[in-house]
Symmetry: C2
């Protein structure tokens, strides 16, 4: 990959608009990636995802390795063909799952051995096989194996994980087959330890990879602490590479991450909340199970262009959730994903117009309406 | 209502093509109605249902009475507005639910008192309130309260249920508010007793209602017996009114019902099987959980025009079902509903072309391919 993987288009304070030029098309940043862990954005057909304004999705190497197996996807012509999504796909490596399913995993310098959370079968993740798997998936953006630790881990544990993450990134770079329009990122770890974060960032930046992610946040720490780490870490990343904040977050977290100079984000919230009756709207969050919506014949959000808001009212959505009709989850997931993409479009516009600070404040105030 | 509710277009043997002229549009018969018990065809957005070729759907008064309540739907402007489906809707009364949830119900000449299967609350269905409820729902076609009995019920029970069904039909007719393009049907009961079926049909036909349904079949009896009852009953129904076979069935049941002169059908199979990995195709039924599809990169049915067959292969569907991804149910339900509508279109064409017998045989032979 060359520097042209990312081009900066506009800046407003620390916030930036840019473009990612990939083998699967050029997309605008800052961008939000809905989560398609197993090769589907839960409940959404690919036409719906396309029409939502989604430019790139996130899938998970670890999960796809277990089901359906990398070989099946390779034989089908890669993950784009397997799931019929022809725009960019970023695949996470499985480092996060190693942490979140820690009781099933053993980690050492060679990688991770673990038992499947599905059937107990033994598997290995190594810096090399994770890169190879993502090559077979034909992932647009490959994430290396990293080691995430608890936010309150002792300093020695944090140091060890940072060292390992840096060594693994180097090994990953050697294993990665360079192709135009495909990228390999590195992941900055270091828990809440700013010194370790800085050390990790410096080491990884020297590798001159195609982009830089910030991992190990949104794992239990409070919001102020997370923003503190973000403020300290983002300036250590090269300005000519995309910056990806992993697993974040709620709409206002996204607003503040963009204000700090983040270019890419993913989160399960719009889809998971879509299944649990929580709607994101410009006036705040709504729980559609709430009785107050039983005879509320307004759309979820009158300003929203999504099919759910155009076609249906709150009363119907409330009824579908109360009756456990699966259409409820599909309709609300669709709305939530469109909401997130509208939020990103609004932030991109604000950066181009040079009023991202005012826009961020306006969004914050708007979203307090319901609460 | 006038006779113009139904016009006969073509006949081939007993099979017939016609048109239903309703307040919500004119549709072609024979037609298949996907089931939307609670106001949603499970897993399908209204655009998908429209694009599937579906002309009319079936909802259920009993279920909607319990959730969300008739009043909520009335306030929203009727069921068409509540669920955003502007084509015809037929609502079943709840007579079938009284039978299938019999342990919760007490039946006498005034109607049925029952406990909600949801919260145990007490409710009443009477010939009158069921008609009123369907008026509030703004149902295109209203079904009266009837009494369904076990297929092997003693003759006295069958007689009693036929008498009651006839009396209730008369009371229903008095309660029904006539409006252009809206229809009230009657339901022929009588279990497997041809004499009782004939008695019931004769009594109901005298009422000169807008259409005639055959109920109390597909409740456990074998296929030959069902066809025997059908063969005996259909000729007793007026040829200038639509004939609706309730709750039937598998694709080949539909083929034989159409050959006997049935105009309308409904069944949970295409949607329920869509959720349980069973696909209906022109070469037979497939269970997508079956391991043989794990690396099968063909579409479900290469001749099918549905989005699932155009966009995805069996391997992906297999993976989604194995992984319990909700998209699996949506994609397969969509295919199954399109398959049923394609089947109906093929049968309508065959009737117009005068080759329904050959077509029925051809379909039967085709569908044996997989089994």
């Amino acid at each position: 990959m060359t520097a042209s993987f990312y081009t900066l288009q506009a800046q407003d304070g620390l916030a930036r608009c840019g473009r990612l030029h990939t083998a699967h098309g050029t997309i605008d940043t800052p961008c939000f990636m809905p989560v398609a862990t197993l090769g589907s954005v839960k409940g959404l057909r690919h036409r719906d995802i396309l029409e939502s304004g989604t430019q790139m999705i996130l899938a998970n190497t670890y999960h796809l390795m277990l089901r359906p197996g990398i070989d099946t996807i390779r034989q089908s012509g890669g993950l784009h063909n397997f799931m019929n999504w022809q725009k960019p796909i970023l695949t996470d490596s499985g480092g996060f799952q190693v942490w979140s399913l820690a009781q099933l995993a053993k980690i050492n310098d060679d990688g991770v051995t673990f038992r499947s959370h599905l059937d107990g079968s033994a598997h290995t993740l190594s810096p090399r096989n994770v890169i190879d798997a993502q090559y077979d998936l034909n992932s647009t953006i490959t994430m290396p194996l990293d080691q995430c630790v608890n936010w309150d881990a002792p300093v020695e544990t944090v140091q060890e994980s940072v060292n390992r993450t840096c060594r693994w990134a180097e090994q990953s770079q050697k294993a990665f087959k360079k192709r135009d329009g495909y990228g390999l990122f590195a992941i900055v770890q270091g828990a809440l330890d700013l010194e370790q974060r800085a050390l990790c960032a410096r080491n990884l930046v020297q590798l001159d990879l195609d982009g830089y992610a910030i991992g190990g946040l949104s794992v239990g720490e409070d919001k102020a602490t997370r923003e503190h780490v973000l403020t300290a870490t983002v300036p250590l990343l090269p300005s000519n590479k995309p910056r990806y904040l992993m697993g974040v977050g709620r709409p206002l977290d996204i607003v503040s991450a963009v204000a700090q100079g983040i270019d890419m984000m993913d989160c399960v919230l719009p889809t998971r909340c879509g299944r649990t009756a929580k709607a994101f709207t410009w006036t705040g969050e709504m729980n559609l199970m709430n009785k107050q919506y039983a005879q509320d014949f307004q759309p979820l959000d009158a300003t929203c262009p999504c099919p759910t808001c155009r076609d249906h009212h709150r009363s119907y959505l409330h009824h579908l959730f109360k009756s456990k009709e699966m259409l409820a989850a599909t309709l609300l997931t669709l709305h939530n994903v469109v909401f997130y993409q509208q939020l990103m479009a609004r932030l991109r516009q604000a950066i181009c117009d040079g009023n991202v600070t005012e826009t961020a404040h306006a969004i914050e105030n708007q979203m307090k309406t319901l609460s």
